[in-house]
Amino acid sequence: MNKITSTAALLLSMGIALPAAAQEDTIKVGILHSLSGTMAISESTLKDEMLMLIEEQNEKGGLLGKKIEPVVMDPASDWSLYAEQARDMLTGDDKVDVIFGNWTSASRKAVLPVVEEENGLLFYPVQYEGEESSENIFYTGAAPNQQAIPAVDYLMSQGVERWALLGTDYVYPRTTNKILEAYLKDHGVADDDIMVNYTPFGFSNWQSIVSEVKDFGSQGKKTAVVSTINGDANVPFYTELSNQGISASDIPVVAFSVGEQELSGIDTGPLVGHMAAWNYFMSVDSDANYDFIDNWVEYTGDDMAVTNDPMEAHYIGFNMWLEAVREAGTTDVDAVKDSIIGVTVPNLSGGSSAMMPNHHITKPVMIGEIQDDGQFSVVWETSGNVAGDAWSDYLPESQNLISDWRAPLRCGKLNVDTMTCEDGAGAE
């Protein structure tokens, strides 16, 4: 019977343990990244990075004379929890001034109505499919024109004539491939020379698809694979590729979702020469980058810790937000929304990035080839920054659309032909 009562006591005490301690006046920054479930693999690093950035900023004296306090929650890779916790962050006891978070497009779509309704700020650090622009979201990851299109341009310059577009079956690969198909056809690639294939999340039986690609690539034309394969499916994919004897010099793979962190879980020996397109690589030569890596290694206490593109995106996003708050003199959301447009901060590749009126940022685009130490070596880079395009110019349904959140336009979906606003404050 004691067992029963003690269990009951445990249950009760857990129920009572609500976060209710009174806090001094601080600026609160919400961190909404999954620490458990399937997305923890990618997102937990970003939580640590945000904690590090906040700690560093506090050592420098905080912001507006106040300390910054992180508010961490775990949405557990559950898309409805993202929405619930975002709402909690914006309206609950810890009313946060800004949220840094999300990884998958689905989780962003779940949070979007919440931040719009509660008028919050969300910085989203991951490359995504575009075709969206919210007044309350700042997209610091790459839009398709900052990643996919330059990568295809590079491969074309390398003589590639046949294209296998492989992706995981979800919205980012679907939209990106749609854009790429339209782009390739614009550039005279025949239908027969494009192969599109989708696989489920976490797919591991790549044998027949890889052998299909091998066949596709042996028709006498230089062939490349453009991969939007997501996370866990990559290891079996690359393993199969190398085991079937396809090396980067036969059929190079350029990936948009494989970075240093993903490579740290793969034996990269057989992958040397395959490519990835990003806006940042850990191997980039700049003092800002070396400082950032040193701090990160020190913070994690792990000599082998790696940095990657979404981390740079948060670095840029956080600094932009700090700058915008300083400029506005307040953390008030509306004031920050206005002051952040045009803010320019140094990025990690030695240049600087600016926030555009469409809530996307400018960044350089780089192509890196995988090395056997799990790093990328940059083999090509755009000559200057590329501005993120919210609405793709290569899709018929969005080529007339732009987004501009500056007053007086304030519109996320402006049709430039008819000059009508389909979404945003300017719509009324």
Partner: protein
């Protein structure tokens, strides 16, 4: 102690628990509505987000009720009830998105609320009818049934993830504007949805209670305990099972339909087998075959999840996982069993 006394005592307990549960639900609902109506600077004021969170819990409770009806009283463990919940949710999601720009021409028909309301119960109901008819007819029982329900929801998850389905692919349906002509983001709507969910839970609770106390309910329990005998007596067991299974699926569908406007999104992850297993865990934790236990379990687990993921984001899974183990080992009848036990002990000592 003879069987008769056991039955009598249980039914007595049942009556009392029904009464208490109803009062708690009604008082709780009223309290939330009143507290929400207080001025925002009042210390007791409940803001919108808390109300919509509670509304979400209510829909989970409704789902747990549906699972308890078939698992607790019929002995059928469905590891795929999330599928019916999600189908109801998708029906509602289609209605909500059809208010703006329909994804496909056929979706225009879903813009009418009566059609959508019908779809909310018919979609899960039909799936349950076909699936249940096939399964019960060929006497698929026990673990076999559980595993194929899991396969069913898994298959649906993969199918809904495909863009070709026209259901928004992996992103699902989102960006809802208005329901029945009222803006979803308005305060009144939040409360209205909360109350609607509460009323649905209450009605479903009374309905399930009535069923379990009826002749049908007794046949159900007899089937659960000795299927072969019931069959020999002359009952068409598969018809009984099918009827209750379909009803349960419809309740789950209604829960999903109420869930979607409050959360603002429905996507294929709701079909994930893990979610359906979790629902079963809520019921087991609250206490099987009591109905109010299912309500309690859903509330407790989801509340803990909300609190713990915020308070201890790195360690909450240890606590939740540990709780599941501890409850199964030491509270075989769940929390409801614990409460009944304590009360009996008090009665004995008093």
């Amino acid at each position: 102690m003879s069987l008769a006394t056991v039955f009598k005592r249980n039914s007595l307990l049942d009556e009392r628990s029904t009464w208490i549960t109803s009062v708690v639900l009604i008082v709780g609902m009223l309290a939330v509505v009143v507290l929400h109506a207080l001025p925002p600077d009042h210390a007791w004021h409940l803001n919108d987000s808390v109300v919509s969170l509670l509304g979400k819990y209510l829909t989970y409770m409704l789902l747990a009720l549906a699972v308890d009806l078939i698992w607790g009283y019929l002995g059928i463990l469905s590891l795929g009830h999330g599928a019916f919940f999600a189908l109801g949710g998708y029906a509602m999601g289609l209605y909500l998105t059809a208010q703006q720009a329909p994804l496909a021409p056929w979706q225009a028909v879903m813009a009418h609320f009566p059609v959508a309301a019908l779809a909310v119960v018919l979609a899960p109901g039909l799936l349950a009818l076909v699936f249940g008819w096939l399964a019960f007819r060929s006497r698929v029982t026990g673990v076999y049934f559980s595993i194929i329900t899991q396969a069913l929801t898994f298959a649906l998850m993969l199918a809904f993830n495909r863009n070709e389905m026209g259901m928004g692919g992996s992103t699902g349906l989102t960006r809802f504007d208005e329901l029945l002509g009222f803006s979803l983001s308005s305060e009144g709507m939040t409360v209205a949805l909360f109350v609607a969910s509460g009323v649905a839970v209450l009605l479903a609770f009374w309905g399930c209670k009535a069923i379990t106390r009826s002749r049908l309910g007794r046949v159900c329990m007899a089937t659960r305990d000795a299927e072969a005998r019931v069959r020999f007596i002359g009952y068409r067991v598969e018809h009984v099972k099918l009827a209750v299974f379909v009803l349960s699926a419809m309740i789950a569908g209604i829960a999903g339909a109420l869930y979607v406007p409050q959360v603002g999104i429905i996507n294929p992850s709701t079909f994930a087998p893990l979610f359906s297993i979790e629902v079963v865990v809520w019921v087991a934790l609250g206490g099987r075959a009591t109905l109010y236990g299912a309500l309690l379990g859903a509330l407790v687990v989801n509340y803990l999840k909300t609190v713990l993921t915020g308070v201890m984001p790195d360690a909450w899974l240890f606590l939740l996982g540990g709780l599941f183990v501890v409850v199964t080992m030491f509270l075989p009848q769940g929390v409801a069993g614990l409460m009944a036990h304590l009360r009996r002990r008090r009665e004995v000592t008093a």
